[in-house]
Amino acid sequence: MSYFRITLHRSAIGLPKRTRGVLAALGLHRRGQLVFHPVSAQFAGMIMKVKELVKVEEVDRPLTKREVHEQRRPDPGFWVESVGSFERQRQHLEGGKGGEAGAEGEVRL
C-alpha cells in the first residue's frame, strides 16, 4: 500500500472557496503542512484540483508525527562520547568467540 505525501507549498489566500474546501478536505490548513493519504483515484482527483499549490510524492508508508518532527530537527553540531559505550562495543566485537570473557568485561564496567 502506497501513500501520497502531500505538502501545501502555496497558500490558498484569495482563491475560490471550492479550492480552499478541497485543501481543508485533504487536511491542509497552513502552508508547509504535511499530510499522507492512500493512493486512490479519489485522493488523486482532490490533488488534481489543487495541483498548483501542493508538492506530491509517492511513499510506501505514512510517517508519524514524531518521525516528521525528528526529520525536521536540525543537526546539534556535537555529540557526547563516553568511554563506557566505546569499551562495550569493543568487547562485543572481541567477545564473539569467548562468551565468559565478554561477560566478565561487562561486569568490570
Binding site: L15, A44, G45, M48, V54, E58
Partner: protein, 110 residues
C-alpha cells in the same frame, strides 16, 4: 525627498498603472519552474494510479489536452490571449493570481 509628502508618481497623480507590460527574465524563470512543478505533480499522480491500475478522468483529460512545459511555446508560457489587447496577446502576469492558476492553452484559432 523623504517623508510622508514626498513626490512620487503614484502620490502626485491619480491612478498609475505600473505593472510592466512584459515579464522580467527572473519572472520568466520562476514561471517555468512553476509550470514544471505542476507537470511533476501530474506525473506523480499518473504513475501512482497506473501502478494500482486505476484511472482518473480529470487526469486523463489533462494529459491529453495540456502541453507540458517542454512542449509549450515561449509565447504561451509568458503571454495569454486577450480579446481586447492589440494583436490579441497580453502578459500572463495580468491574469489575477497568475502564479497559482494554470493558463496554458489558447482559444481555437489563436
Amino acid at each position: 525627498m523623504f517623508g510622508p509628502f514626498r513626490i512620487t508618481n503614484s502620490l502626485s497623480g491619480g491612478l498609475l498603472w505600473k505593472i510592466p507590460w512584459r515579464l522580467s527574465p527572473t519572472q520568466k524563470y520562476r514561471q517555468r519552474k512553476r509550470l514544471r512543478a505542476v507537470d511533476q505533480v501530474v506525473e506523480t499522480l499518473s504513475n501512482a494510479l497506473a501502478k494500482k491500475g486505476e484511472t482518473l478522468k480529470s487526469l486523463e483529460r489533462w494529459k491529453a489536452e495540456m502541453p507540458t512545459e517542454a512542449q509549450m511555446l515561449p509565447r504561451d508560457k509568458y503571454t495569454m490571449f486577450d480579446r481586447k489587447a492589440k494583436r490579441y496577446r497580453k502578459g500572463i502576469h495580468k491574469l489575477p493570481k497568475w502564479t497559482r492558476v494554470s493558463q496554458r492553452l489558447n482559444p481555437p484559432g489563436f
